[in-house]
Amino acid sequence: MHVSDGRGPVSLGRASSFGVLAATSVTDTGGINTTVVVGDLGVSPGRTVIGYPLVRGTIDMGSLKAAVAQEDLAGAFADADGRSAGAVGISGDLGGQTLTPGLYSSPSALSISGTLMLDAQGDPNALFIIQVASTLTTGAGSQVVLSGNADPFNVTWVVLGSADLGAASAFQGSILAGGSITLGTGATIEGRALTLNGAVTLDNNTITAR
């Protein structure tokens, strides 16, 4: 499955090992080790990590590893955002909808309340790329559910603005954001939270990047 212009998956390169990658800072407002990141946690060019997330990987504050990851993230962001052929227009609230593999593009803010289903229709290599020209917001308790052998690491959300995940929400896929990423209390991501220019705020979350 190619999305689109014959291009395959969005390659994150050296950013792929990161569950959380921020430009300015990562702040975990929860208690000690109540946020779990399975993967690396990094900040570049900033060097600030506040709080005590449990990281099953390395914590890279202003390191070269984080800097090269940011460089590759910029390339992945440009790739994902630059695709246009065959894009299906979407907008508003995706709650209650089912999307099949493909490229989706929202010219304005996007939200998810309730449940959004991503159905790979039996293809474990199926790709989902969702472009959001503004902000992405998910409601408290909302869910992105995968079906039909969909793989969360084949789901890419490229968000020009900020991304805010509601408390106790369950999210699937890698968020590539231009702005900040905020996870509400208890929100989970099967994928990654990566921002080019902003901060990442955590609170009793689980982020599984591998």
Partner: protein
């Protein structure tokens, strides 16, 4: 074509084609040999590679590489020479938590222009000395595991750099057209990164001063 093939083909061709002439009267000198590039300087700073792994000193190891040069002797006293060298240097690093360890490898190819002042030019030896300037073409620096830790930072682009220095050498004839050649170059150039990530970490390019002393032994073909 492998780099070594060029001097081999050139020497064979000149052996066949070179007109007979006394070495002291020769106008062209082709020199080839193996050069030892030793370095005399290092970078010091604090480059954080990843959590718990910070490099505070980087230095290039000495290496051996081929050298080829061609000199045109304008007058009995003055010649102009173009030289090409090649080396592949291991960069060693050390940090707070580990002693000197491998960091990566980088290739360099200095292309030099020089003026040789032939101090003595006789049947027994031809001693020359003069300034050189040039340009160093660098390959990427490819970091390896550092202090036994794999660091996924990938290849680092290096910036080509200006070189300058002095050159001295001697040809010792042993046949009509042939001479042993011993050459010493004291050069000043650096291996400098051209990498946004490195600049983001350090606030500037990482510059490893090489300042090599290059000793070469080889043969000279004069015609």
């Amino acid at each position: 074509m492998r780099f070594w093939n060029v001097p081999v083909i050139a020497v064979v061709a000149l052996l066949v084609l070179a007109p007979e002439a006394h070495a002291a009267d020769s106008r062209m000198v082709l020199r080839g040999g193996a050069g030892w590039i030793s370095t005399s300087s290092e970078w010091t700073g604090d480059l954080l590679l990843t959590e718990g792994l910070s490099v505070t000193e980087l230095k290039a190891d000495g290496t051996i590489g081929p050298q080829l040069s061609l000199e045109y002797v304008f007058t009995p006293l003055i010649g102009g020479e173009v030289s090409v060298l090649q080396g592949s240097q291991e960069i060693k690093g050390s940090g707070l938590s580990f002693p000197r360890a491998g960091f990566g490898r980088v290739t360099e190819r200095p292309i030099l222009l020089g003026v040789n002042l032939h101090v003595t030019r006789s049947r027994k030896f031809d001693l020359y000395v003069g300034p050189v300037i040039g340009w160093v073409i660098w390959g990427d620096l490819t970091p390896s595991a550092v202090a036994q830790q794999e660091v996924t930072i990938g290849a680092i682009n290096m910036r080509d750099d200006f070189a300058w220095g002095v050159n001295a050498g001697v040809d010792v004839p042993f046949a009509k057209h042939w001479a042993f050649n011993f050459d010493l170059r004291d050069l000043d150039y650096s291996a400098r990164t051209d990498s946004r990530p490195v600049k983001a970490v350090l606030g500037e390019d990482l510059r490893i001063p090489i300042k090599p002393l290059i000793g070469t032994a080889g043969l000279a073909l004069r015609w």
